[in-house]
Symmetry: C2
Subunit: 320 residues, 2 copies
DNA sequence: CGCTGTCATGCAACCGTTTGCACGTCAAGA
DNA sequence: TCTTGACGTGCAAACGGTTGCATGACAGCG
């Protein structure tokens, strides 16, 4: 039995007589043989592995994205290596460098890396970005602006005239987009906006920010994301401020809002869809370079709109 | 410049004159060259990649474990492929089969796979188990029994005499351990225990189980894990039952308990430590087979104790 | 000044698949 | 029966690194 036949059993079984395939398969099963991925990769140039780098896998935003991406990748016959950049642009870039040699392409979700570094990375690796708008690099963008505008409108409709926005990570593209949308909508509705930044963009950061928010004399707040929002909720509760009776609050992402008490009004981001779309873009890139030696002509972008989800944290304005 | 020199620049730079290393490195940087992982793997037999398979990456228990494991692996020069088994033993086993050809070894966290399948997998792959007690297979076990016993003692001390346990996944080893510990402690303290199983072991399952729990006429409940516990908390709140005033509740894992309202009394599992320990065991295995053709003599087990964390969901028994 | 040992580098075989090509077999048609 | 073509399988050369061994340069020593 020649190596070629064994190889064909696994890669191109239609070239072989069914009986042969059967024979080889059964022996392989008995021996516990599986083709060596490295050797296949070396010969074919396709490693069958993609990278997915996120700033913090423990942040509730990413697991659903990872899961969806991974499922989509698997359907395309690809395994997924997860990288955690630790909310640090430098580590993130280093991660990509390491992964480069063992993957066919890399998805960078919510990258914290600076633009020039990102660009040079893109020159040597197949890259897809999520929530980062860099012309020329394939990317999927969750457009939370409409949802954010709806939140402001909702608050305005409930009589609020002074609100606060609690910022997310400084290096986050999404944060910039959301802030801009809120500023815009506040202007439109004649609302006075104050912004602040939590110590850290996590639960405890939000909790600590509650005191600061209350001191501002606003009657409502918008949090960068659900995690921060949940923290605020806890911080407000600790101080005896009842939501939505005494204070209104909205957030973004819809990661944990359904499980808070009270359930939070937020902006429902299509996180899973973003993961799938990113894999699709990457798979396109991979195919593109197989056939023609093709630069995937054109600037490939997928925009996914995010809409408000009304739950129970917005009430009528009541001066304190 | 011969290939050997380039190779040595990256793998064994100490064999070369520093000036040579410098020269090669700078040229490599300029060209964006990195050694091809597959070729290295093929020649050396070490792929530099390990697999980590979990039942559900979106379950709050796993991201911290993944993160810790990944960090530990990176220190050992290993990348990590994450696999999601979808809470399904069959898919999980298939996942391991696929990963086998592209990794040096696999960590199976909270496997749902049946024992015989697990055993046969272990024969053909380097395997490390987390929270599954299979003699002969290297494993790390989080021993939540002491913590669970403490919870029962705490409830007993607060005057509760009728409590309920809300089960987790049927195929979960941890669930069996926890249930046994609770049964034992209840006997000891003369507490009447009723058990039930949520429709699904997630937030909504817990929420729905709240009604059922209240019908049992118990004054306190222990949930399999924090996710279920948080769901119960929400379900109770919906029905106007105040925790801990009207009803007491404890959970396990300490994944989201600190962020619920009120913060939940739970059992703090050393999740991160478990992830690190699993990687250590796997790395030991890998080294073991390098040197001697070594069966890592002895049954390698790491037991990590989990202790109760008191927060705010247990109060004095008050008949309803 | 020649011998010896050390150190840095080159040579070439090999890791386990894939794949273009050649070969052998067999059935159908002339 | 011979030719022809289709089909299944084997041969051998790559893929891009690694590594034992050989080689050459050079310094120290007698």
């Amino acid at each position: 039995m020649s190596p070629s036949t064994v190889s064909r059993t696994f890669s191109h079984p239609h070239l072989l007589r069914p009986s042969t395939v059967e024979r080889v398969s059964s022996v392989a099963a008995e021996l516990g043989y599986v083709p060596d991925g490295s050797a296949q990769a070396l010969k074919t140039g396709r490693r069958g592995v993609i990278g997915l780098v996120v700033p913090d896998i423990a942040n509730a935003f990413f697991p659903p994205l990872i899961r969806a991406a991974q499922t989509a990748a698997e359907k395309a016959g690809l395994s997924t290596i997860i990288g955690d950049g630790n909310e640090d642009g430098t580590k993130e870039a280093a991660m990509v460098g390491r992964l480069r040699g063992q993957t066919d392409g890399i998805i960078l979700a919510s990258p914290r890396t600076r633009e020039p570094v990102l660009r040079s990375l893109h020159e040597v690796t197949r890259l897809v970005l999520v929530n980062r708008d860099l012309a020329g690099v394939p990317r999927v963008l969750i457009d939370s602006a409409p949802g954010m505008r709806s939140c402001v409108r909702l608050l305005a409709g409930a009589g609020h005239t002074r609100i606060a926005y609690v910022n997310g990570p400084a290096a986050s593209w999404s944060n910039g987009e959301r802030l801009a949308a809120i500023e815009d909508a506040c202007r439109e509705h004649g609302i006075a906006l104050t912004t602040l930044r939590a110590r850290l963009p996590d639960h405890d950061g939000g909790r600590a920010a509650a005191a600061e928010v209350l001191e501002l004399g606003v009657t409502a707040a918008i949090a960068f994301d659900d995690v921060l929002g949940q923290g605020l909720l806890a911080g407000l509760a600790e101080r005896g401020v009842r939501v939505p009776h005494d204070f209104s609050l909205t957030a973004c992402d819809d990661t944990v809002s359904a499980t808070t008490y009270p359930p939070m009004t937020t902006v429902g981001c299509p996180i899973r869809e973003a993961g799938v779309a990113a894999v699709e873009l990457l798979v396109e890139s991979l195919r593109g370079s197989d056939d023609g030696d093709g630069n995937g002509d054109g600037d490939r972008v997928r925009r996914l709109p995010a809409e408000m989800v009304v739950r129970g944290t917005v009430g009528r304005c009541r001066e304190r």
